[in-house]
Amino acid sequence: MNRKMKAASLLTVLGLVSGALAGCGGNSDNGGNSGTNGGANTNQTADAAKDPVTLKIMLWGDKPKQFDDVIAEFEKETKDTLNVKLDVTWTPQADYVNKLKLKLAAGEQVDLAFDAPWMNMNQFIQQDNYNNLDPYFHTDKYPGLKKAFTDQYLNNNMFMGTDKQLHVYGVPMGQYYTDLSVIYYRKDLAKKYGMSDLQSYDDLIKYFDNVKQNDPSIIPFVEKNDGNYGAVDIVNGTKATLADKAAAGLWDVPLAPQVTGTVLIKDNKVVAASITGEKSESKQAFPEPYNQEDNSTFITVRDFHDKGYTEKEPITRKDAKGTFTAGTAASMMENISNLDSIQSGLKAAVPSAEIGMLINSASEREMKQPSMVTDFRVWNFLCVPKTSKNLDRVMEFLNWMYSSQDNHDLFELGVKGKNWEPVGDDKYKIPDGVDLASNYTFPGYEFTWNPTYIRLSANVPDGFVKYYRYMADEKSFVKSALAGFAFNGDPVKNQLSNPDFGTIQSEKLPLQLGMMKNPADDLAKLQQKWEGNKTLQSDIQAIKDELLKQVQAFLDTQKAAQ
């Protein structure tokens, strides 16, 4: 019996231990596997020019439909030249920032990652976590990169490295200098109400009224619970533009995700500044009409709410686009570049629907020049973390992608003939009979966008092609006086982390969504609350001092450079 017990206990222990530690073992096994696989492949294709390599790529969002087919097509085409496999990890947007951080923290290999100054990028560059990509551009060794990225485009998109010099730390992703906001509406509904295409703000209001009257179950204008692309933007579209503000010498500077500063610059000197949540006195030095709080937008937004143009509680609306494309809303706002995905979504749910577009801002609609401010920098980048062992191979892959329109379109649009077909040299359309809902749609802004390789959708109405030219025209923009300036938050890191900045943002949200009954009074009350918050005010003061110092230092170096 004793022997039996011995055997039984040993067996149990063995089983449990191996079970408990299976997780650890499994991981290293996987790592080993990919290694041996690689080795096996070399033997098979002994004549291939390069060793096979798997590139690990981090992107955000949902994995596009048919993405694996595109990858398979890519690997087939380049087996004999690049010989790389792409292992793309798609992460939901809300988790992406932290996941990337943790992956790098764990020392996991990441060869290419989507990042941007509004995510980790500035911080990671300061911490020397991204590779300097200078050597790969402007060189004949990488003709594709040389062709697609002009000197000026790169120079506008450099970052200050740890050596205090400007370098390319990320491959810039951009097509135009901006992406116009457009109100997408239901043309078929407008026709039903006897209206022709909407041309102005007044038309839009009339359209809302008609929806309210004739289709009470449809929401005239749907907005998301974070307030972006909301009624506030419609109202602001009728007002002074950022170019006007710039003409007055006022420039906005993002300081942290929830903190923005506005500085007044006169003759290369910073004269005044105001920061999110600061006392309203700080704006006194600003020129009219920017020297006081403007309530009128919020009042009109509340009016929209009372008239039923927007939902009663937009704060519960988690997906505005989905609501519009499902046919339960009569209009929504998004960027002009999203036309295709919105149209295909709507057509899939409501086959009889017809989509209409109205450029949101009045000055942009009339193509006034200049009416926008830009630093000529793009918003999104692809970076190569220092944990990557395949820097050269990654850049070779990117070189391949940017070496011809065809290679580029494979990722941006999918397999030619199957997912899309060319119309002329610079347009494309979805082939007849292809199911829009299951077709390949790729978020180009995080991987492929480039000004050299633009293909417009043939869906873009003829009257709107001119707006694309307008967005690409430098004359439409005022160059920011702070172009190239990035606020270094490190010296005031603790102040910027004051949780009340996050609270301010969400306390303003109900105003933006029209949910406050008396916008003017309520804003005044909020302002009073923030002004009475002593820690917050002293933190703001410290941040402001640092901002003024850094901006002035920047302006001085700019002047010296001239």
């Binding site: 017990m5 011995k6 206990s9 040993l10 149990t12 222990v13 449990l16 231990v17 079970g19 408990a20 530690l21 650890c24 809300a94 920032v97 932290n98 951080k101 943790l102 790098l104 923290a105 020392g107 990671f124 911490q127 020397d128 976590n129 619970n225 974070d226 942290a256 995700p257 929830q258 939902e311 009663k312 509680e313 704060i315 519960t316 988690k318 973390p385 220092k386 944990t387 603790n494 910027l496 982390s497 004051n498 949780p499 009340d500 900045f501 996050g502 609270t503 969400s506 306390e507 949200l509 109900p510 949910m515 918050n533 820690t535 917050l536 933190d539």
Partner: protein, 321 residues
């Protein structure tokens, strides 16, 4: 290794070992061996990761890792107390959890007692299964459903109220109603599952006591209050002590799924977790998040130890350790 060492010990030498514990260890080495997997598991998955606590005291840089990042002392802890509302928020957090513990315990106990009093039949078994079902529905899904109930335009509750010509309630702008909603939903979700533990404990009570009581003429209510509840005391106290450890936890999933970022409701719904999540989700300093969760755990730990001491003083059997 441990087994080889144990096996190498000669039977004759065992008598020489004076230390009682050690002798016991060697005598029953195969039985003790059974505990090895659990020990290994705890070391690997519970104690080794504690090294990560260092992040709370560092200006953490992912590439440099835990051992290479700069040590900055208590700087990360200051962040939480910088905000204006940290007292209200801590208050909300503790209040919610206390309410959850109290109402959850009462409801779970009631369910358990009622079900056991009903005896064992098909109805009771079905009820039992139906009641634990909500425990497996995740909060985000409950959140989606809740909008259909509470929203002003099309919500079921408001339609019902207005059809009875009562006034409607603007749930998403009225902070007062949410503590009640949270408590109700929490009961709905956890009470059925919690009842299982108590039912198991009730089954363990000696049936002869009930028989004796019945012979002495005790009513059913008297049996419940004089036998069942007192016998359950140590179980109740133990579960209470265990849940005390999480009293500073913020129920992030629940609050965010149900109300999201709604500043109308902050006064009553903002908890430590939602507050920290809101301010760090975009800027996301790992050090600061770690600091706050360390703070929550330490306070929870201290509370458990203190409450356990108290329990020990009042009733020796109820204490966990």
């Amino acid at each position: 290794m441990a087994s080889r060492k144990a096996a190498g010990a000669e039977p004759g030498r065992q008598r020489l070992i004076r230390h009682k514990g050690l002798r016991d260890l060697i005598m029953n080495r195969y039985l003790y061996l059974l505990v090895l997997p659990a020990v290994l598991f705890s070391i690997v998955f519970a104690y080794l990761p504690l090294v990560g606590l260092a992040i709370a005291f560092q200006d953490f840089n992912p590439i440099k890792g835990i051992f290479g990042s700069k040590f900055i002392g208590l700087d990360n802890f200051k962040f939480f107390f910088r905000g204006h509302d940290w007292l209200i928020i801590t208050g909300n957090t503790v209040m919610f959890n206390l309410m959850f513990i109290v109402t959850g315990t009462i409801c779970a106990l009631t369910i358990a007692i009622v079900l056991t009093e009903l005896g064992k039949n098909l109805f009771v078994r079905t009820m039992q299964s139906v009641m634990i079902l909500p425990n497996f529905i995740s909060w985000p899904i409950v959140g989606l459903f809740s909008v259909a109930f509470f929203t002003a335009d099309t919500g079921v509750i408001n339609r019902f109220l207005s059809s009875l010509s009562f006034g409607t309630i603007d749930f998403y702008t009225d902070a007062k109603v949410w503590p009640f909603i949270f408590v109700l939903l929490n009961i709905w979700k956890t009470a059925g599952f919690g009842a299982i533990v108590y039912m198991a404990a009730i089954v363990g009570i000696d049936k002869e006591m009930y028989e004796a009581a019945r012979i002495d003429g005790a009513t059913r209510m008297q049996s419940i209050f004089r036998i069942t509840l007192p016998m359950l005391k140590s179980t109740i106290v133990m579960l209470f002590l265990l849940s005390l450890g999480g009293i500073f936890g913020g129920n992030l999933e629940m609050v965010y799924s149900l109300v999201g970022d709604n500043s109308f409701l902050y006064q009553t719904t903002d908890t430590i977790d939602t507050y920290v999540f809101r301010s760090l989700r975009t800027a996301g300093s790992l050090g600061m998040s770690q600091a706050v969760s360390l703070y929550q755990s330490v306070v929870g730990f201290i509370l458990v130890v203190l409450a356990n001491k108290l329990a020990k003083k009042v009733d020796e059997d109820s204490a966990i350790f």
